[in-house]
Amino acid sequence: MGLTIVEKILAYSTGKKSVKPGDVLEPEVNVAMSHENAALVINQFTEVWKDTGLSPNVWDPSRIAIIFDHRVPAESSKTATNQKKIRNFVKENGITKFHDIRSDEGGICHQILAEYGYIKPGYVVVGTDSHTTTHGAFGAFAFGIGATEMASVWSLGTILNVEVPETIKIVVNGKFKPNVYPKDLILYIIGKISAQGANYKVIEFHGEVIRNMPMSGRLVLSNMSVEAGATAGIIPGDEETIRYLRKAGVNDDIIPVLPDNDAKYCKIVEINADELVPQIACPHTVDNVKPITDVKNIKVDQIVIGSCTNGRFDDLEIVAKILKGKKVAEDTRMLIFPASWQIYKKALKEGLLEVFSDSGAIIMNPGCGCCLGVHQGAIGDGEVALSTTNRNFKGRMGNPKGDVYLCSPAVAAVSAINGFITSPEGVK
């Protein structure tokens, strides 16, 4: 019987010829990523090694990545102390994939793993962050775990008791209309299959739309797969994967893992991209998705561009094209968070930041804080935010009395000018 991508990766990482859904395995981990919550991982790691008579030892310091991004620079003494504790741990253990709060190496963890070429097809990647699914865009099996589970990975180099998941195949054919983007596609999919439609399952993305999509868009699809409950969202590796990784400095072999023709899927979903229009996820669940034409007369107090979902250079370019020579509406504020400092500097060099500042938008430093309501950009009681981020849960942007809508960068930019949620249709 044929195998899906995740089945092949899990078979390879456990030295087996074949595996099937439900098998319980202990795969080897290629990259184990954490951010500021490494503070809790360190605590649990110390607990694991207590009373063993052994000195605590990470299994492979070159496979652990730690990136500061959730609260940068620190918003409180507590965070600064956590970051200090992590920095010391990194030094003591010789962890090499460490990205501090610096403009020559920093950014949002999922963007850093991508742009530094840390992830390759076939890898098993775990992260103490639910959006670790992002790295499925490279044809890896990448999923989020908790801090104690990460302490276990740091100790053993394997992830214990992984049950081989079933796979849902999503096939997207056709062609996007102008002003329709990967974000609209993934919102549409989440709305269609629901926030729990892929719980405990892996999504594999196929079809001509995916094959023609640049890596920046693929990262959006894999990133938000978790919002449908998926353990991972995997895109088969191809020329685009290799192109991106070569540019990111990967010089050794890159071998895509592809599914067998007779692979067994638990469900197949077919989507025609020709019919897709811009989508909006309305409060307070990510699957409360509507075509933008159904969302009328919603005044927006805050526009947010950024996050591990839509803060990449391609996203900023779309926004700048729409904002050029225009102003952000009077009663609306706009915050732009490039996803990394590499992106920030490219946007600076190519004049995008000038367009943003001329329009009245605020250029923020790369980081996650606003998306999850922990650092800058909180919304007030009764306020509405329209955001290119990934979650609109009650309280997400720092206030349970506010509303968060999710959209593509194009919808966000057009709406910033109008001050109301607006369709980008007709905008060139």
């Binding site: 319980v24 503070a39 809790l40 052994l54 639910s130 926030a195 979650r391 009650k394």
Partner: protein, 164 residues
């Protein structure tokens, strides 16, 4: 074993259980104070220790969806609550198992506030309603972690096997 103290809707996220703004607080000994912080009445009563250990909260579908923050499990564990839901999101369920928080998957559960609930083997008994509901047991692989007393103890055993 305990009374139902709160009934939640579907899709309760870990942001609702443990809001992001408290995430700099990480230690299991310190997280309980922020349990359901945006449900101000519930949070106040939990912190005033008005609910005895074993009190029950009821969830709908997809309880614990969203962020992987482990604080969402440790914060509920700190109050000794039992969560019975129609089903749970993956990372939250795994975190709960790893830390020893008692989650019970009970797709047909019917319960109102103050109902008296008892767990009898693989059944949930609503004593107030006089009704019994089936539960979905944990897969054997996960049960091994529960039986070891949590993932720290389970991993410690593996570490000793591997490195000595």
């Amino acid at each position: 074993m305990g009374k139902v103290i709160y009934i939640f809707d579907n899709d309760i996220s870990t942001d609702a259980i443990y809001p992001g703004r408290h995430m700099a607080t990480v230690l299991p000994s310190e997280t309980p104070q922020f349990c359901f912080a945006d449900y101000t009445d519930l949070n106040k009563k939990l912190n005033a220790k008005e609910y005895p250990t074993g009190s029950v909260i009821i969830g709908g579908n997809n309880f614990g969806c969203g962020s992987s923050r482990e604080q969402a499990a440790s914060t509920i564990l700190g109050h000794g609550l039992v969560v019975i839901a129609k089903d749970f999101a993956r990372i939250f369920l795994q975190n709960a198992i790893n830390l020893g928080l008692n989650l019970i998957t009970c797709p047909e559960i019917e319960a109102d506030l103050d109902d008296e609930i008892e767990i009898k083997g693989d059944k949930v008994l609503n004593k107030t309603k006089g009704k019994e509901f089936s539960t979905i047991p944990l897969p054997a692989a996960r049960l091994a972690i529960v039986e070891a007393g949590g993932l720290v103890a389970y991993t410690r055993k593996k570490v000793i096997e591997k490195y000595t």
